[in-house]
Each structure stands twice: as C-alpha cells, then as structure tokens.
Amino acid sequence: MPRGGAKRVVVVARCALCEVVHQPRLASDGALGLMFPSGMAAQNKILLVDDDEQMLELYQTLLEQLPSRPEVQVCNSGARAIAMLESEPFTMLITDLRMPKMDGLQVLAIVRRKFPHLRLVVLTGLLDEEYRSRAYAQGVEMFWQKPGSVEDIQLFQDCIESMLDRPTQTQEGFRGVQSKSLMDIIQLECLSRGSSVLNITHGGLGGKIWIQNGEIIDAATAQMTGEEAFKEILSWKGGNFEILPADPSRARAIHLSYQGLLLDSAQALDESKGPSSSAAADAAGQTSGDAPTGLAALGRFEGVGFLLAIPPDSKAPVDSWRLENSIDVANWVRDTHNRLAQLGESLRAGEFSGAFGFGLQEHWALAAREGKGVFCAGFRPVLSQEQVEQTMKHIFDKWAS
C-alpha cells in the first residue's frame, strides 16, 4: 500500500476478527500513521511471544518498521514472557495462543492480573469463535488472525501503530475482565478441551480445580478434595481466579463428566443455598446480597418465585427475597392492601383475608396480619390457582408465626 505521496488515502480498517474499526491516524501530509502526540517522548516497547522462531523474526521486523519505531523484544514461551515483563516495563504484549506448556490464554490470564495497564494483542492462526471470546474475556484489545497477505500485514501494522498511539493507563476508557460466574469460566475451559489449573480465591479462602483435556479431574479447598471440594468452590459467590499451567501429574479423583458435575453442583447449590445464591438479589438495596433467613426458608416452598415482607411502620425497611424492584412492589402492595381493606369496609364484608392475582408470567398473593405487616409472595405460573392459595396459606402462617 502506498504511503504518502500525491495520493491522500484514509484507511479505515475493520479488524476481521474483533469487528472493531481501527482508524489509523492521518498526518497533515496525508501519510498514514505518521502523527505523534507532542508529549510522546518515551519509546514504546513491544513484547512478542510465539513458539515459532521464524514468525518471531518476521513480526519483529514488521513491528520495528512502524512509524513510532517501537522497541520490539521477542521470546518463545509464556513463562519467559512473564519473566521479561517482570524485569522491565512494556507497552504492549502480542502473543500467540497455541504454545506448548503455557498457552496464550494462560499467559493472558496471568498478565492481565499482574500488569493491568499492558496492552494485549492476540496474533494467532486459530480461527475459533470460542478462543476469540475467551481472549476478549481476558481483556485483550485486539484479536488478529496471522496476516496472510500484504494488505493484511499493512492493516495489522496500522492497527498496532494506532494502539500504540492511544493514551495508556488511566487517561481514558476502562479495561478489565468481564464479570463471569465460576460456572461460565469452568465451562469455557472444558469446552475448549484444554488443560489447566484454575486457582480461585474467595476472601481468605482458596481452592484449585484441575482440568485435563476438557474434563475436571480434581478439586481441592481447605480440607476437602474431589467432588466435595468442587461443590464447595462453586458455592462461592465471588472472588478472583487465575488460570495456571496444567498439572499432568495430578491423579484423577473426579470421574463424572464436567456437564454432570456442573449440573449436580448447580442443583445442590439451588437446594441448599438457593436464596442467597440469587443473582437477582434485591437490586433496590433493601436486602443486598444477604437474603433474610426467615424469608429464605419460606422461599423453599414449591413454586415460590419471590417474597416480600412489609412491616407496619412505613419507614422501616422491607424484607425481600428474589425481588428486584422491592421498593416499587412494596409501595404497590401497601396501596393495594389499603384499597382492598377499604373496599371490604364498604361492602361490610368482614376481615380482609387475602388477595390473589393470576397472570401468564407470574401469580402473586398478599395477606396481612395486624401488628406484623403485609406479606406478599410471587409464584411461578406452573402452580394452579388452588395450589397458589394453599401455598400462600402455609407460608403466610409460618411468616406470621
């Protein structure tokens, strides 16, 4: 591709894999990528990791030709790359994915944690959607298939130059790893049929899950190992993880398939800690992550979708379980209860016993007890109207007692 000269060409490069439009800078003379920020004095340093020596040499040459003239260092293994990153600062890491011992994703996981401001680029021959997703989940900024033509090489150079030209660190934008559940991470690891060790920390607790060729072979935390440890680790709601190199010497202690294991664990989690595991725990801030134990126990009744307990004092906070908009619903429940009680007085119908709503997506019921407040429950529509009324009677009596 001609640079500069009489022609003024603006190249807008859409990276074929990451689907991001990377726009190289256009200098005043029309030449591509020749503009540098005035304050940019320090030379950019790029670390290139690939187990293929020939590729290393080729890409080193290509990158050294960039207008910003970065310093390019190379190494042929993930472990060596990490050692180099620890010994001196780099602006960018460009890594291959398929490498022996420590693959590119493992390198990325470690690097992202240890060097959060490093720009990460994947350059690989693997054209796999899953790898791409995993790489982006690790926080890479660009996922490139190894260029196969002169045009591709030019685009690659332009994109790298454009990235080097962007402000780094905290000046603008956000970087990070997507928030994924541990189940998602394990599934990704297993689906890729890879081998690794997941090192997970949760507060002061730590655990490891060994994955060999896409199967979970063992887990360990505290005093537990095997399936018991795996289920324990999966019950943790948050923390950090890193993907360590595989440990082929680890003996297999778990023989269930990973799908079966995840299913079992999910069921066990649902049965034992359903309420507190609710990802939809009250977003309104009334109950935060800790569901009230009283409501949590009531939530174990068949078909119960949500629970809401409103104290008589309107200024007191409401308790809720698995209800996202608890404040809005609480206001509506109060209003509805007042209306229906007032209606009962107009009809001289005696004491208000309860109200039930039946919908296609959800059923609900509300009842009140003097001195205790108003109680509202949501039910899954699999329950019949009679079942809703019966279940409500049970849980309301328990709550009121």
């Binding site: 619903v329 509506w332 009962g344 009809l347 119908a349 016993s353 039930f356 709503g357 919908g359």
Partner: protein, 102 residues
Amino acid sequence: MGVLRKLRAGKSVLERRPSGAFTVDSQGNLVSSTVPQRVPEALTRQIGWHILAVFKGAAAVRLPFSELRVRYETFDVAAREMRGGAIIFLSPKPAPRPPAAS
C-alpha cells in the same frame, strides 16, 4: 310487644350484601351490571375503581396479571381484566351454620 319491636328494629339493620357481576371500562365507567338495583351505583363504581387501580398498579411494577380474587371473611370479589376494563363478580359467602345442638 316491646320485645318484638326491638327484634324488628334489629332485623332491619341487617342488609343483604350485593351479589352479581358488572363490567367497567378502562375509565371506571359502569358498562353493564347484574347487581341488584338496591345496591347503590356509587358502590359498584367504587369497587370498579379500586379493582382497576390494582390492575394498573401491578402492571406498573411489572407484575401484570389478568385475574384477581379477593377474599373477605364473608365475601369474595373476583375480577378479570378486559382490555383495560374489567368484569367483576361479587359473591357473598353463605353464613356459617351454627353448631348443631347435640
């Protein structure tokens, strides 16, 4: 005689509770009714207005439903949402039987 007069006076206080069904449009206007005429129209309007408010309030908090049952000690109210309006059923419960003398 005085005793009978008192009994008659007491009996006249007991009113038969309304029964039947009526429909209201989305504005709460009475459209049709099988509720006896002795029941004041203002009362049926009031019932309709409250029921519609419950339906609308529920939809506003993302708890949409189409059928409502309200239980009172001596009365049931059932309602079904109809294109923004509602059909409402008023059903007095039979008075509880006195315990049989042994």
